[in-house]
């Protein structure tokens, strides 16, 4: 019975955000395009002109290098936002989870429903980047839809652990530091804009254990290559490990919060 109930929770989320949707969709479509124009073309013209450029980016132009990575960063942005303020809203301000708690829906289904909703939200974000990837001739290819699909677990790898954390919070004071000290540094140092080999050795392990770098590599390899089985499996394994751990943590913290 848990799947249909989860779908009802997802429906509720969808209905609630329906009004703000056009803005959300417009934002998630325009933001990657702005990044692509600003960074891909602007920075790209500096990078691509250099003699060693092709070697350091694995033979890719800067636009080819950057554009697929935005699938992963957009997923992270969407996932980490959805897991903070909107989740606390459900517990504290709007208290929709309290309202659901007295219906036959179990906390487990609330979590499942939210996972469905986050998936929806991440896919919307990916569509914007995906459209850009298809428009740009040098990134166009059959790998694009696969990379778009892979952006879902990347976004969930952020949404799930963060939501589990949010479920233990009484207020929003920890959210800006999370954004400032986790999400923004990962965005900048997670291999989206330049290879992490450019980073000091000491910083690289952060990229290796956090899901963004793996997501960036995965989306990039799937879109513009080269795709190697071993690396791909490792990337997928790390991302899925974060999703799975986050899912289990959500099941525990949501149940505790709802039933206290």
């Amino acid at each position: 019975m848990s799947t249909p109930f989860a779908i009802r929770v997802w429906e509720g989320q969808l209905m609630t955000v329906w009004r703000a949707w056009r803005t959300a969709v417009a934002l998630s479509l325009t933001q990657p395009i702005i990044f692509l124009l600003g960074m891909g073309l602007g920075v790209g013209s500096l990078v691509d002109g250099r003699n060693d450029a092709a070697a350091s980016l694995g033979g890719l132009s800067y636009l080819q290098y950057l554009a697929p990575a935005l699938l992963a960063t957009a997923a992270m942005t969407a996932g980490s936002f959805e897991a903070t303020y909107p989740v606390l809203d459900g517990f504290k301000w709007r208290r929709t989870f309290d309202a659901v708690a007295v219906t036959p829906i179990a906390p487990r289904s609330v979590v499942n429903g939210l996972f469905l909703w986050w998936t929806t939200r991440i896919v919307i974000g990916s569509v914007g980047v995906g459209a850009a990837l298809v428009i740009i001739p040098s990134t166009r290819g059959w790998g694009v839809p696969v990379a778009m699909a892979m952006s879902v677990p990347v976004g969930l790898a952020f949404a799930a652990p963060l939501a589990a954390w949010t479920a233990t919070r009484e207020d929003e004071t920890s959210f800006p530091p999370i954004q400032r000290f986790i999400i923004t540094p990962l965005f900048l140092f997670g291999g989206a804009f330049y290879p992490i080999e450019s980073l000091p050795l000491a910083l690289r392990p952060i990229a290796w254990v956090t899901p963004l770098w793996h997501g960036v590599q995965l989306c990039r390899d799937l879109t513009v290559g080269p795709l190697t089985l071993g690396a791909t499996l490792v990337h997928i394994a790390v991302v899925l490990a974060w999703v799975a751990a986050g899912y289990l943590a959500c099941q525990i913290t949501f149940a505790r919060r709802i039933q206290r």
Partner: protein, 321 residues
């Protein structure tokens, strides 16, 4: 005390109770919000929990609503254990929480439809019931408007309509009329009375004594996580208060001799900063005795004693929060 608890037995033993609680407790860390209470609620009755803030009423309601598990003790609702049959119990129950948790972003009707969907109702069925219930709570003309600008009374009525979407057999109401104006309270009471007529079992918490007297067949008074008295409203008044109360406003010099002047007619005298209350079987006669003794109150009022007197007697006059 023993007699109070005995009176909480279900009136008709041939029907199993809708709610049966045996020594249930609820602990949050070191704090014990509910400290072992017993009660039964029979089908079709209106049962009230009275108590000051912090008495444990809301914790109790959250346990009965099968959301918050009991720390210890036995709780059965519709004969089922919430720990193992939570969803099945909640499917047959409606809950009106203390603070409205309507979705402010949605319209009045959408709030009901979404909620009905949580009970596995088809969309068309949700819309039919929503229309029917909005009529019932007199909000039909606001079906399409957003929740946020509605008045407190309208939001409360909408929350009640929402709690009825699954046609519950048992309706739990946590302080249903707190913060409402008298008109809104009376409309709510009418609706609750109608529901009771239809056979819905009502369980409510309140700290309004008039509400408890109006609505409840039986009630218990809670204080510090325990049941301190229970019975019918009239029975509680008879047991814990006198028939009448004489309220006096007196010059400071007259205050001390009141009990003495009235003698055996003054069962209890309470000396408050603003007035003196005399609990007595005959208020007029007590007043006459006082005047005969040469005491002339600045003001006096003889009234029937109410549940409020019982409540204050049992739970004290000290502010609890």
């Amino acid at each position: 005390m023993a007699s109070a608890i005995a009176s909480l037995a279900v009136p008709d033993p041939s029907h199993p109770p809708v709610i049966a609680a045996r020594s249930i407790t609820k602990r949050f860390g070191d704090f014990e919000a509910v400290r072992g209470i017993d009660f039964d609620v029979a089908r079709g009755e209106c049962f009230g929990f009275l108590g000051p803030n912090g008495a444990g009423k809301s914790s109790l309601m959250r346990m009965v609503s099968s959301v918050s598990p009991v720390t210890s003790g036995e709780l059965h609702i519709f004969g089922m254990d919430p720990a193992t049959n939570g969803p099945a119990i909640r499917a047959r129950m409606g809950v009106v929480p203390q603070t409205d948790n309507l979705d402010q972003e949605l319209t009045v009707e959408e709030n009901l439809v979404i909620y009905g969907r949580y009970f596995d109702l088809a969309r068309s069925q949700c819309r039919d019931r929503a229309r029917e219930l909005l009529d019932f709570v007199k909000l039909a003309d606001r079906a399409g408007s957003r929740v946020e600008p509605l008045s407190g009374g309208m939001k409360r009525r909408l929350t009640i309509a929402r709690s009825l979407m699954n046609r519950p057999e048992l309706l739990l109401l946590d302080e249903p009329t707190t913060g409402l104006d008298p008109q809104a309270r009376h409309v709510l009471w009418e609706r609750l009375y109608q529901l009771k007529e239809q056979g819905v079992t009502l369980v409510l918490t309140t700290h309004y004594m008039d509400e408890a007297e109006q609505l409840c067949d039986r009630l218990v008074v809670m204080d510090h996580g325990l049941i301190v008295a229970g019975g019918t409203p009239r029975g509680l008044i008879d047991e814990h208060a006198t028939r009448e109360v004489l309220e006096l406003r007196l010059a400071a010099s007259d205050r001390s001799g009141v009990a003495q002047h009235i003698g055996d007619l003054a069962v209890r005298v309470e000396d408050l900063p603003d007035r003196v209350l005399v609990y007595t079987p005959d208020g007029d006669e007590a007043l006459a005795r006082l005047r005969a003794a040469g005491v002339h109150p600045l003001g006096s009022l003889v009234r029937r004693s109410s549940l409020e007197d019982v409540f204050l007697r049992l739970t004290g006059r000290t502010l609890t929060d």
